[in-house]
């Protein structure tokens, strides 16, 4: 499944980069994150419980950051496995500065969903990925704004 | 049914005119309760997600999916399953019509269709073919292509008027 979109942050690129580059913050942006453990500067794991209405699933998650070109782009590898299925995704993000100290983020990637959730939930993939991306980026923007303030 | 994970709930229900009292796990599906606790195996299970209709039974006279209800939820209610419609020697007019019109082949989906049709004909004694097909929209059959089922329902409507 393809995931792509863009988002405008209310803050300068360096500030956004600092947050994006901090996997701990990234994990927090995944809706429903319970715990985060740092494996290395570029790798974090954690427990995530995804809730969408009646659907809920606990996933053991992992985020790896690679191909960094500070402060503009990097690749994120996200993995999650749980009782209801698994998710694997590789995506790249690229950021450009906009006037007024705002930042435009373009993101795109491929996600692979497997198991139970794939076999009966396909009708919702697209919308779920959209809404989760939106939630995550909103959260990131909130963190950004609060850190600026 | 043994349960090691949940406390049991008292359940009293009238099924095909007989009153049953059992203790069940709240998660036990009505379909499993009927089939495996009471050995009323005429009610069949085809999908357990509410699409195929094979598990349809009558609750207080209306058709429901027994795979989309927990047994505890029928506490105090009246259930009729295919076993409650007629007997081999004394078939219900709907059952008789299904035999005469060849409205079944493997017969697996049939119990859910019979219960649904019995309720349908009570609310609509003179259905058009289109209404009959609508009424069957919640029951899948892989054998008949539905044509002889529609014939059977039409025939049953006539029989029941005669009665």
């Amino acid at each position: 499944m393809k995931i792509e979109g863009e988002y405008i942050f209310d803050g300068p690129r360096e500030a956004v980069w600092k947050l994006v580059r901090d996997p701990e913050v990234l994990m927090k942006c995944l809706p429903g994150t319970q715990t985060v453990n740092k494996i290395s500067d570029t790798e974090f794991t954690g427990e995530v419980t995804v809730r969408i209405g009646p659907f809920s699933g606990a996933f053991a998650g992992r985020v790896i950051v690679s191909d960094e070109v500070p402060p503009q782009s990097c690749t994120l590898t996200v993995e999650g496995t749980g009782k209801i299925g698994f998710l694997k995704g590789v995506g790249s993000i690229a950021m450009t500065e906009l006037e007024g100290g705002k930042t435009l983020m373009k993101y795109g990637g491929e996600a692979q969903i497997g198991g139970k959730v794939a076999s009966v939930g396909q009708r919702l993939f697209d919308s779920v990925s959209k809404s989760m991306a939106k939630q995550g980026l909103d959260t990131l923007n909130e963190i950004l704004k609060s850190s600026n303030a | 049914m043994e349960s090691t994970t949940q406390n049991l709930f008292e359940l009293a229900v009238t099924i095909n005119g007989t009153r049953y009292e059992r203790k069940v796990e709240p998660r036990m599906l009505l379909s499993d309760f009927l089939r495996h606790e009471l050995d009323l195996t005429g009610t069949h299970v085809g999908c357990e997600h509410g699409v195929c209709g094979a598990c349809s039974v009558l609750m207080d006279g209306r058709p429901v999916r027994s795979c989309l209800m927990f047994a505890v939820q029928v506490n105090g209610h009246e259930i009729v399953t295919v076993e409650g419609l007629g007997t081999i020697d004394n078939l219900h007019p709907v059952q008789k019509s299904f035999q005469e019109a060849h409205g079944l082949q493997c017969g697996f989906c049939t119990p859910g269709i019979l219960t649904t049709v019995v309720a349908f004909l009570e609310t609509n004694p003179n259905p058009s073919d289109e209404e009959i097909r609508e009424a069957l929209s919640g029951n899948l059959c892989r054998c008949t292509g539905y044509q002889h089922i529609v014939d059977a329902v039409r025939l049953a409507a006539e029989k029941m008027k005669e009665k």
């Binding site: 139970k116 009966v120 | 017969g107 097909r133």
Partner: protein, 777 residues
């Protein structure tokens, strides 16, 4: 002897039990102390199993045992090959790779079983299965059958040097010569996707081991109990007499239930012996999509060579056949496709090579039609393409090429799925086509109605598609007919039954000979304790093969009845008549004896028995054809499409079926209706959607769309009876017929309805979305 019962619309003997919930299906078997199984299945389509930790599951309260491949020790080995490759054909390639009871190291399709949990009930078993920790190392997934054959493709089976499972080419005449002689040569690529059989009853196995009696009883949702009995005996090191396999009432088969051996069929009986407790496994619907076989995936490159006036000179059909992760069922499906690619047409030059390809999809075995719908789709689509190209009316083009009534038996010179020569035994193809055209009013429709409707802006199309169906293949079936002292008749055969009405149509065949009421004949199928020999119910062979054995056995019983009665009534046989369970002297009806009394006397308890006397009014007979009879039929359809939404409505549907002697029109029509509904599903509703990683995206009835009552048109069924010379009944099979021509018919109707959008349909199944795309391009 004039037929009193055969050919009559007789109500079914089996119905009262089915209608009152008194018929026993496998999941209805409930034994004291019975345990319940649930499987952990791989979520990955292609992966190595790197870690499997079942300890938490084993400790879960209510769990009795958890087994993995390792735990099976020496009892772990693959299932048997079902249909070995054709001995008669040269340079055939066949790599047999069979499914295993539980995955040991490598997963080859999503849904392959990794571990089995045995618990006090299914709920607990499923709780525990969730506690199993499995770690997989995912491998690149092979989904596309063309890419699978490329040199750099990853391998489904690492020990092979490619994903080629099998290869076979068959030839008739000389296509290249025909091609050179042709005025027009048309090439097309044709794609057909997978569907599911989706019987309403999922699979299930219940096994009970009697340690003291050293006897194993297995209730199995199988179409072929005897091969299962034989296979289990050898697998478990038991004598066949120690194993009883019962296929009770089965909730629809449609092919996949024949496919022995499923991993669960190998495991559950083994577990029952191992644990010395009855074990039940009932497949759930999601498992049915992941663990039950599927069919239809093929890619064809077709070429048809014709003269300007529409005579087909030759056909070339090279195709790839997707067999999924294993190929237990040999070459049956692609050979069927080859044998139907010439349809009912007189085509002198034919060449076809197929390659069977391993992919990381669920295993492929026959599903109602078994390769035939693909073959018919190929030839009928090419006929329509040719009709357009040559500017000849599509029906006229077909008429010009149909095999004529005087050409039978028509030998094609290639082999069929049973590796017997493909010989079309009999038929009157033009008559069947004409009856269909008259019934749908073809001429009137294209001359008056269609132009009028098109003026009104309606998009209404018509289609007519003839087809053949090879049926009733060997090896053989048998039957034992016994007149009992009650005067009732007991009949046993080895095949299973899944709703075809065997308890009635067989009873008609027997009652016809033995002179009793149909309701006085008790048919027993699907119980290896009742009959030892046989194969199974598949390839539209039940009525033909087992039916012929019934006919033979009951004719012999009829002879015994007359011989004995003539002795007792002291009257020559030719002066006796047999009716309503009584033998009487024709012109002295008061002098008679009932079959019950005869049956008693036929079992001499004391007194002199002449040497050579067989006790009882009983006979056993077998029937095995050299090759099977071929049925013929034609379907016609009028289809309306809303071009803005691409929603379709079938306005009329006509079927003419020639399956030889009609045993029971009521039952035959039911079979046809059911086949058509599956065919309509294959055409417009039913598609298994796999993503590129081998995940099946619609493993539920919410997203896998079975045709419902609101989608089905009223079907008008007509009959032509051209008796088969191959069996005494004159019967030909009909079980799969209904499904075979529908995709070809549907495609033709769509093209005709969307005439103004010049849509060409060379694929199946379609959907509103796909029609929207085709119309746009």
């Amino acid at each position: 002897m004039e037929k009193k019962l055969i050919g009559k619309r007789i109500m079914r003997n089996e119905d009262p039990r089915l209608l009152t919930g008194q018929a026993q299906f496998v999941d209805d078997v409930n034994l004291p102390g019975m345990l319940h199984a649930a499987f952990l299945r791989s979520e990955y389509a292609h992966a190595r199993l790197v870690r499997l930790d079942v300890s938490k599951a084993r400790q879960h309260p209510g769990v009795v045992a958890v087994f993995t491949a390792e735990d099976m020790g020496k009892d772990w080995f693959p299932g048997p090959p079902l249909v070995s490759p054709p001995p008669t054909v040269e340079d055939v390639v066949f790599h047999s790779r069979r499914q295993v009871p539980l995955v040991k190291d490598k997963i080859r399709h999503a849904g392959e079983a990794v571990a089995v949990v045995i618990a006090e009930n299914r709920y607990i078993a499923e709780d525990a299965a969730e506690l199993i920790e499995a770690e997989y190392e995912s491998l690149p997934v092979i989904m596309n059958i063309e890419k699978a054959l490329e040199a750099d493709s990853p391998l489904v089976h690492d020990d092979l040097d490619s994903n080629l499972a099998a290869q076979l080419s068959q030839k008739k005449g000389d296509y290249e010569v025909a091609r050179k002689a042709a005025d027009v040569v048309i090439r097309r690529r044709i794609l057909i996707e997978r569907g599911a059989a989706a019987a309403m009853e999922n699979r299930g196995v219940v096994a009970q081991w009697d340690a003291k009696g050293q006897a194993l009883t297995v209730w199995d949702t199988t179409q072929a109990p005897i091969p299962i009995r034989n296979g289990l005996a050898s697998r478990l090191g038991l004598s066949e007499s120690q194993v009883r396999v019962i296929a009770p009432y089965i909730g629809g088969g449609f092919g996949p239930k024949i496919m022995m051996f499923y991993p669960e069929e190998m495991l559950i009986p083994w577990l029952a012996m191992k644990l010395n407790r009855p074990v039940k496994w009932i497949e759930d619907r999601r498992e049915n999509f992941y663990a039950t076989t599927q069919e239809r995936g093929q890619v064809h490159d077709v070429e048809i060579a014709l003269t300007r006036d529409g005579k087909v000179l030759g056909l070339k059909d090279d195709f790839l056949h997707d067999t999924g992760a294993y190929d237990p069922y040999g070459l049956t499906i692609p050979i069927n496709t080859q044998c139907h690619a010439m349809g009912g047409y007189d085509i002198k030059n034919f060449t076809s090579e197929f390659k069977v390809v391993f992919t990381n999809k669920i295993i492929v075995t026959p599903v109602r039609g078994a390769g035939r719908p693909q073959g018919i789709f190929v030839i009928e689509r090419m006929m329509d393409a040719a009709a357009k190209e040559l500017g000849i009316d599509p029906v006229e083009l077909r008429k010009r090429n149909l095999i004529q009534p005087d050409a039978f038996p028509y030998e094609h010179g290639i082999i069929d799925q049973a590796f017997a020569p493909l010989i079309l035994d009999s038929g009157n193809y033009p008559a069947v086509l004409q009856k269909t055209l008259d019934a749908i009013g073809y001429e009137k429709f294209i001359k008056d109605e269609q132009p009028r409707l098109r003026k009104e802006g309606k998009h209404v199309g018509i289609a007519v598609a003839p087809f053949i169906e090879t049926t009733g293949i060997g090896p053989y079936e048998g039957a034992r007919v016994t007149v009992e002292a009650s005067g009732k008749v007991n009949v046993a055969t080895g095949i299973g039954t899944q709703g075809q009405g065997h308890f009635t149509s067989f009873a008609q065949i027997v009652a016809e000979q033995v002179g009793v009421k149909v309701t006085d004949v008790r048919i027993v199928t699907g119980d290896t304790a009742e009959f030892h020999w046989g194969t199974g119910t598949f390839a539209s062979r039940g009525a033909v093969v087992a039916g012929s054995a019934m006919h033979a056995a009951s004719s012999m019983v009829r002879k015994k009845i007359f011989t004995l009665a003539s002795k007792i009534l002291e009257t020559p046989e030719e002066e006796l008549e047999l009716e309503d369970g009584v033998v009487r002297i024709a012109d002295m009806p008061q002098r008679s004896i009932s079959l019950g009394e005869l049956a008693l006397l036929a079992n001499p308890l004391r007194g002199a028995v002449e040497p050579g006397t067989e006790p009882g009014l009983e006979s056993t007979a077998y029937y095995g054809p050299r090759y099977g009879p071929t049925a013929f039929g034609a379907h016609a359809m009028i289809l309306e499409i809303d071009p803005d939404t691409m929603m379709v409505k079938i306005r009329r549907y006509v079927v003419t079926e020639d399956c030889g002697t009609v045993l029971n029109p009521l039952i035959l029509e039911g079979q046809v209706h059911g086949g058509v509904s599956m065919g309509i599903g294959n055409s417009f509703y039913e598609q298994l959607h796999y993503d590129e990683n081998g995940q099946l995206l619609n493993a539920s009835f919410a997203d896998y769309l079975l045709v419902g009552a609101t989608e089905m048109p009223h079907i008008e069924v007509h009959h032509v009876e051209t008796l088969s010379p191959l069996n005494e009944l004159g019967a030909k099979g009909a079980g799969e017929a209904g499904a075979i021509p529908v995709p070809a018919l549907f495609a033709q109707a769509v093209e005709n309805a969307l005439h103004d959008q010049s849509v060409e349909v060379m694929e199946m199944p379609l959907s509103p979305n796909r029609l929207f795309e085709l119309a746009k391009s």
